[in-house]
C-alpha cells in the first residue's frame, strides 16, 4: 500500500508538490502529466530521494521520511538514464555490487549475478565493458540491478523514454509482468500507462486526476485535441 497524506515538497523556495492525499492499494500504478508537473518528484518521495517538507508518505508500511534506510531497501528505483545508474565497469560487477549492498556473501555474488544476467538475456555480455552495451541493454542491466535486491515496491521514472520501440516494449513488459507487490511507472508512454491498474495525473504540483487508466488518459489527451 502506498499512502500520501498532505504531501508537499518545496525545493529552494519553489513549490514542487502540493497537498497530495492518496491511498494506492493497486499493483500497477501509472503516473502521467506534463514535464514539470511534479510526477517525478512524487516518485522520488516514495523511496526517500526527495523528502516531504509537509505531510507524510508511507510505502509498504514504512514511513519513508522516518525510516529512510528501510524504505530504500524496500523500494527499488529505476531512472530514465541507465548511464547514471550503472556504477561498475562490467555488468557482472554491477549486479555483484547490488548483491553486496543487499548483504549477500561474497562467495555467492558472482554466481547470483550471472544467474540474474541470464534471466535478462545479458549473460553473454557479463564481462564486457558496460558502456559498450546498447541503450536497451543498459536499461535491462539497470533493471536487473534493482530487481536482484528483491524490492517490495518498484518505482520507475520514465524508464522507456530513451529507448526504441522494441526495447521500450520489452522493458514495459518486464516492469508490468514482475511479481513485485507494487510497481509505480512515471511515464509519457500512454500505451504503457493504459496497461496499469490505476493512473494518477499531476498538473502544477497537484494530483488532479485519479482513476481507470483509460479515463484518465482520455481526459489528458482531450486537453491537447
Amino acid at each position: 500500500m502506498i499512502r500520501a497524506a498532505g504531501l508537499g515538497v518545496e525545493i529552494d523556495g519553489t513549490r514542487i508538490l502540493e497537498a497530495v492525499d492518496v491511498e494506492l492499494p493497486q499493483r500497477r500504478i501509472a503516473v502521467i502529466g506534463a514535464n514539470g508537473s511534479g510526477k517525478s518528484t512524487f516518485a522520488r518521495t516514495l523511496n526517500g530521494l526527495v523528502l516531504p517538507t509537509e505531510g507524510s508518505v508511507e510505502v509498504a508500511g514504512i514511513d519513508v521520511a522516518r525510516e529512510r534506510r528501510r524504505a530504500r531497501d524496500a523500494v527499488g528505483f529505476l531512472f530514465s538514464n541507465p548511464d547514471a545508474q550503472i556504477l561498475m565497469p562490467t555488468p557482472s560487477e554491477d549486479l555483484a555490487l547490488s548483491l553486496k549492498a543487499a548483504g549477500v556473501p561474497r562467495s555467492e555474488r558472482t554466481d547470483r549475478a550471472l544467474e540474474e544476467l541470464e534471466r535478462f538475456g545479458l549473460a553473454t555480455h557479463a564481462e564486457q565493458p558496460a558502456y559498450s552495451l546498447s541503450g536497451g541493454q543498459k536499461q535491462l542491466l539497470a533493471l536487473a540491478a534493482v530487481l536482484v535486491r528483491a524490492p517490495r515496491v518498484l518505482v520507475a521514472d520514465e524508464p522507456t523514454t530513451l529507448l526504441d520501440l522494441g526495447n521500450a516494449r520489452r522493458i514495459g513488459d518486464l516492469l508490468l509482468g514482475s511479481d513485485i507487490e507494487q510497481t509505480v511507472l512515471v511515464t509519457h508512454d500512454l500505451d504503457l500507462a493504459s496497461r496499469c491498474d490505476i493512473a494518477l495525473r499531476f498538473d502544477d504540483g497537484r494530483l488532479t486526476d485519479l482513476g481507470e487508466p483509460r479515463d484518465v488518459i482520455d481526459a489528458y489527451v482531450a486537453e491537447f485535441a
Partner: protein, 197 residues
C-alpha cells in the same frame, strides 16, 4: 585509456590480487632502475611482452597498449633525445612505458571488484586514523566506471559543435564540467537509491 578486465583462466587471472599488486610494485621498481643500455631496455620491454603472453592477453593486446600510450612515448622519447641523446631517450622511455604495460596487464587480468576488495584490505590498518577503506576502494572503482561516460559527454559536445557549426574553443571544458557535475548529481541519486550509501 584504462584497459578493462578480460575474462580468462591464465596464471595471472588465477593469482590472488594482493600478490599480483605486490609483484607489480616490485617488478615496476626493477623496470624503473634496470634499463641502462639499449639492450637492457629491450630486455625489459620483452619482459612486459612475456607478462602479456603469460596472462593469455597476446601480442596484439600488448601492441595496442603501446599504441594507446603513443603520446606519452612520443613526448618522453623526443624530449629526452633532444637533451640526453638517443640511448638515454630509449632507456628513459622504456622505464616509464614498461610500468604502464605491467599495470595494464594487471588490470586486464583482475576484476575491478577483486581490485576493490584488495584495496579495501590493504587500507584496513588506516581505519585507526579515521579512513574508510570501503569508501576509498569504491571511489576508485567508480572513477574507472565513469571515465567512458565522461568521454561520451565530451563526444556529445564535439558533435553538438559540429552540428551547429560553432566552435567553443577552450570554453568547451566549462560545458563539459557542467555536464559532468549534472551526471555526478544523477550518480549520487543512484548511489542513494541502490542503497550503496
Amino acid at each position: 585509456m584504462i584497459p578493462l578486465y578480460r575474462a580468462g583462466a591464465s596464471v595471472l587471472h588465477r593469482s590472488p590480487t594482493g600478490a599480483k599488486l605486490i609483484v607489480l610494485a616490485v617488478v615496476a621498481v626493477v623496470c624503473s632502475l634496470y634499463p641502462h643500455t639499449a639492450l637492457t631496455a629491450l630486455i625489459v620491454l620483452g619482459l612486459t611482452l612475456g607478462v602479456f603472453l603469460i596472462g593469455g592477453l597476446g601480442p596484439v593486446a600488448w601492441l595496442l597498449q603501446l599504441w594507446q600510450a603513443k603520446w606519452i612515448i612520443a613526448f618522453l622519447a623526443v624530449s629526452q633525445a633532444v637533451f640526453l641523446g638517443p640511448v638515454a631517450a630509449l632507456t628513459g622511455t622504456v622505464r616509464v612505458v614498461s610500468v604502464l604495460l605491467l599495470a595494464a596487464a594487471v588490470t586486464m587480468t583482475t576484476r575491478t571488484s577483486d581490485m576493490i576488495d584488495a584495496i579495501e584490505r590493504a587500507l584496513r590498518p588506516f581505519r585507526r586514523i579515521g579512513a574508510d577503506p570501503a569508501r576509498v576502494a569504491f571511489t576508485a572503482s567508480l572513477t574507472i566506471a565513469v571515465i567512458p561516460v565522461i568521454g561520451a559527454l565530451a563526444a556529445q559536445i564535439r558533435e553538438a559543435q559540429r552540428a551547429r557549426g560553432v566552435r567553443l574553443g577552450v570554453r568547451w571544458i566549462a560545458v563539459l564540467l557542467v555536464n559532468a557535475l549534472r551526471h555526478a548529481d544523477d550518480v549520487g541519486d543512484a548511489l542513494t537509491a541502490r542503497g550503496i550509501v
